[in-house]
Amino acid sequence: MKKNRRIIVYIATSADGYIARPDGDVKWLDRPRPKGNYGMGEFFRTIDTILWGRKTYTKGLEMGMKAGGFGGGIKNYVFSREPQKSGEPGFEWVNEPVKGFAKRLRGEPGKDIFMMGGGGIIASFLDEGEIDEFRISVIPILIGEGIPLVAPRHPAIPLTLTSTEKFPDGVVRLNYRVENRR
């Protein structure tokens, strides 16, 4: 049986709902990891593709990210309206419309797809009905202002809570399904 590839937002937010400080800083995420590292290893075994917004990708490069750092055999796509700047190996630049890209990706055999964010690309994919799940790790911290999970949009989208997980350091993961009529 052919398994449908899901596009999954797997992300951390502050308790007040932000994915980064206004300037993109995520130092507040640097905290001692509990044993099991929030099940990230398990999650990475279920995916083979990562989707990046251009700003998140740039921030990642600043922080020393390398394509291979996420495990071998993972394909990385960077969405940008601008022409490709750097030739970082292992990252493929995309500037085609979301719908066509997602349809093609879903048509290829493979594992699930990790939507890294940020808020802009998440909103663009949501608009097209191309996000299947949100897995949000809520960090026990208030940062007061920052970049929201989804870039400003009008329609409210109800999600279905599927499960929650609690980690020893007070991080709570909330798993939601998006009811798309794709």
Partner: protein, 190 residues
């Protein structure tokens, strides 16, 4: 070594309780909160048993007046409204105050009593957080992405760490998180 936090290490805790969307909004841009709901299996009774005092900002007071509320007159909950413009004093069963949150909390804690519900809005909550007066945080997360709206707090207070005290799931996907303020110095930051 990890030690379980002692229950209620402070007299008369200040509890900030809010409901928000998954993306962190407490209201739509026009102020409406139609997306919030109270699941059948959720009861405020346990919470009301903990408190004997409620605190709100002037704007929140005015919104609640329009909605036909305006404090808990007739109940045993003492309600305080913070305002820079309205005269201080007791009127219609409410206590209007002009002092700073710090002065207010110091004064309140001189007399014994139960905990204090900080109802909001965002500006008053921000002022309490800025003065580091929020001891507990109760957040209800409604399973909706609003995409835009009024943020939980207006900007302008330093980072505050909390420890998770409880997480519960109610029907229709409502999440209730309870946190206690973690005032230990920053860990792990070089």
């Amino acid at each position: 070594m990890k030690k379980k936090a002692a229950a209620r290490p402070y007299l008369r805790a200040i509890i900030l309780g809010v409901g928000m969307s998954i993306d962190g909004y407490i209201a739509r841009l026009d102020g409406s909160v139609d997306f919030l709901f109270m699941p059948k299996d959720y009861s405020m009774a346990d919470f009301f048993a903990l408190i004997d005092t409620a605190v709100m900002g002037r704007k929140t007071y005015e919104v609640s007046l329009k909605m036909g509320g305006g404090g808990f007159s007739g109940s045993k909950i003492a309600t305080f409204v913070f305002s820079r413009t309205l005269p201080a004093g007791e009127r219609e069963g409410l206590h209007f105050v002009k002092e700073s949150p710090t002065e207010f909390v110091e004064r309140l804690r001189r007399s014994s009593g139960k905990h204090v519900w900080l109802m909001g809005g965002g500006e008053l909550a921000r002022d309490f957080l800025k003065a580091d007066l929020v001891d507990e945080l109760y957040i209800g997360i409604v399973p909706v992405l609003l995409g835009e709206g009024i943020a939980l707090f207006p900007s302008g207070f330093p980072q505050r760490n909390f420890r998770l005290a409880e997480n519960r799931t109610y029907s229709k996907g409502l999440i209730a998180l309870k946190y206690e303020r973690d005032r230990r110095p920053e860990r792990g930051s070089a």
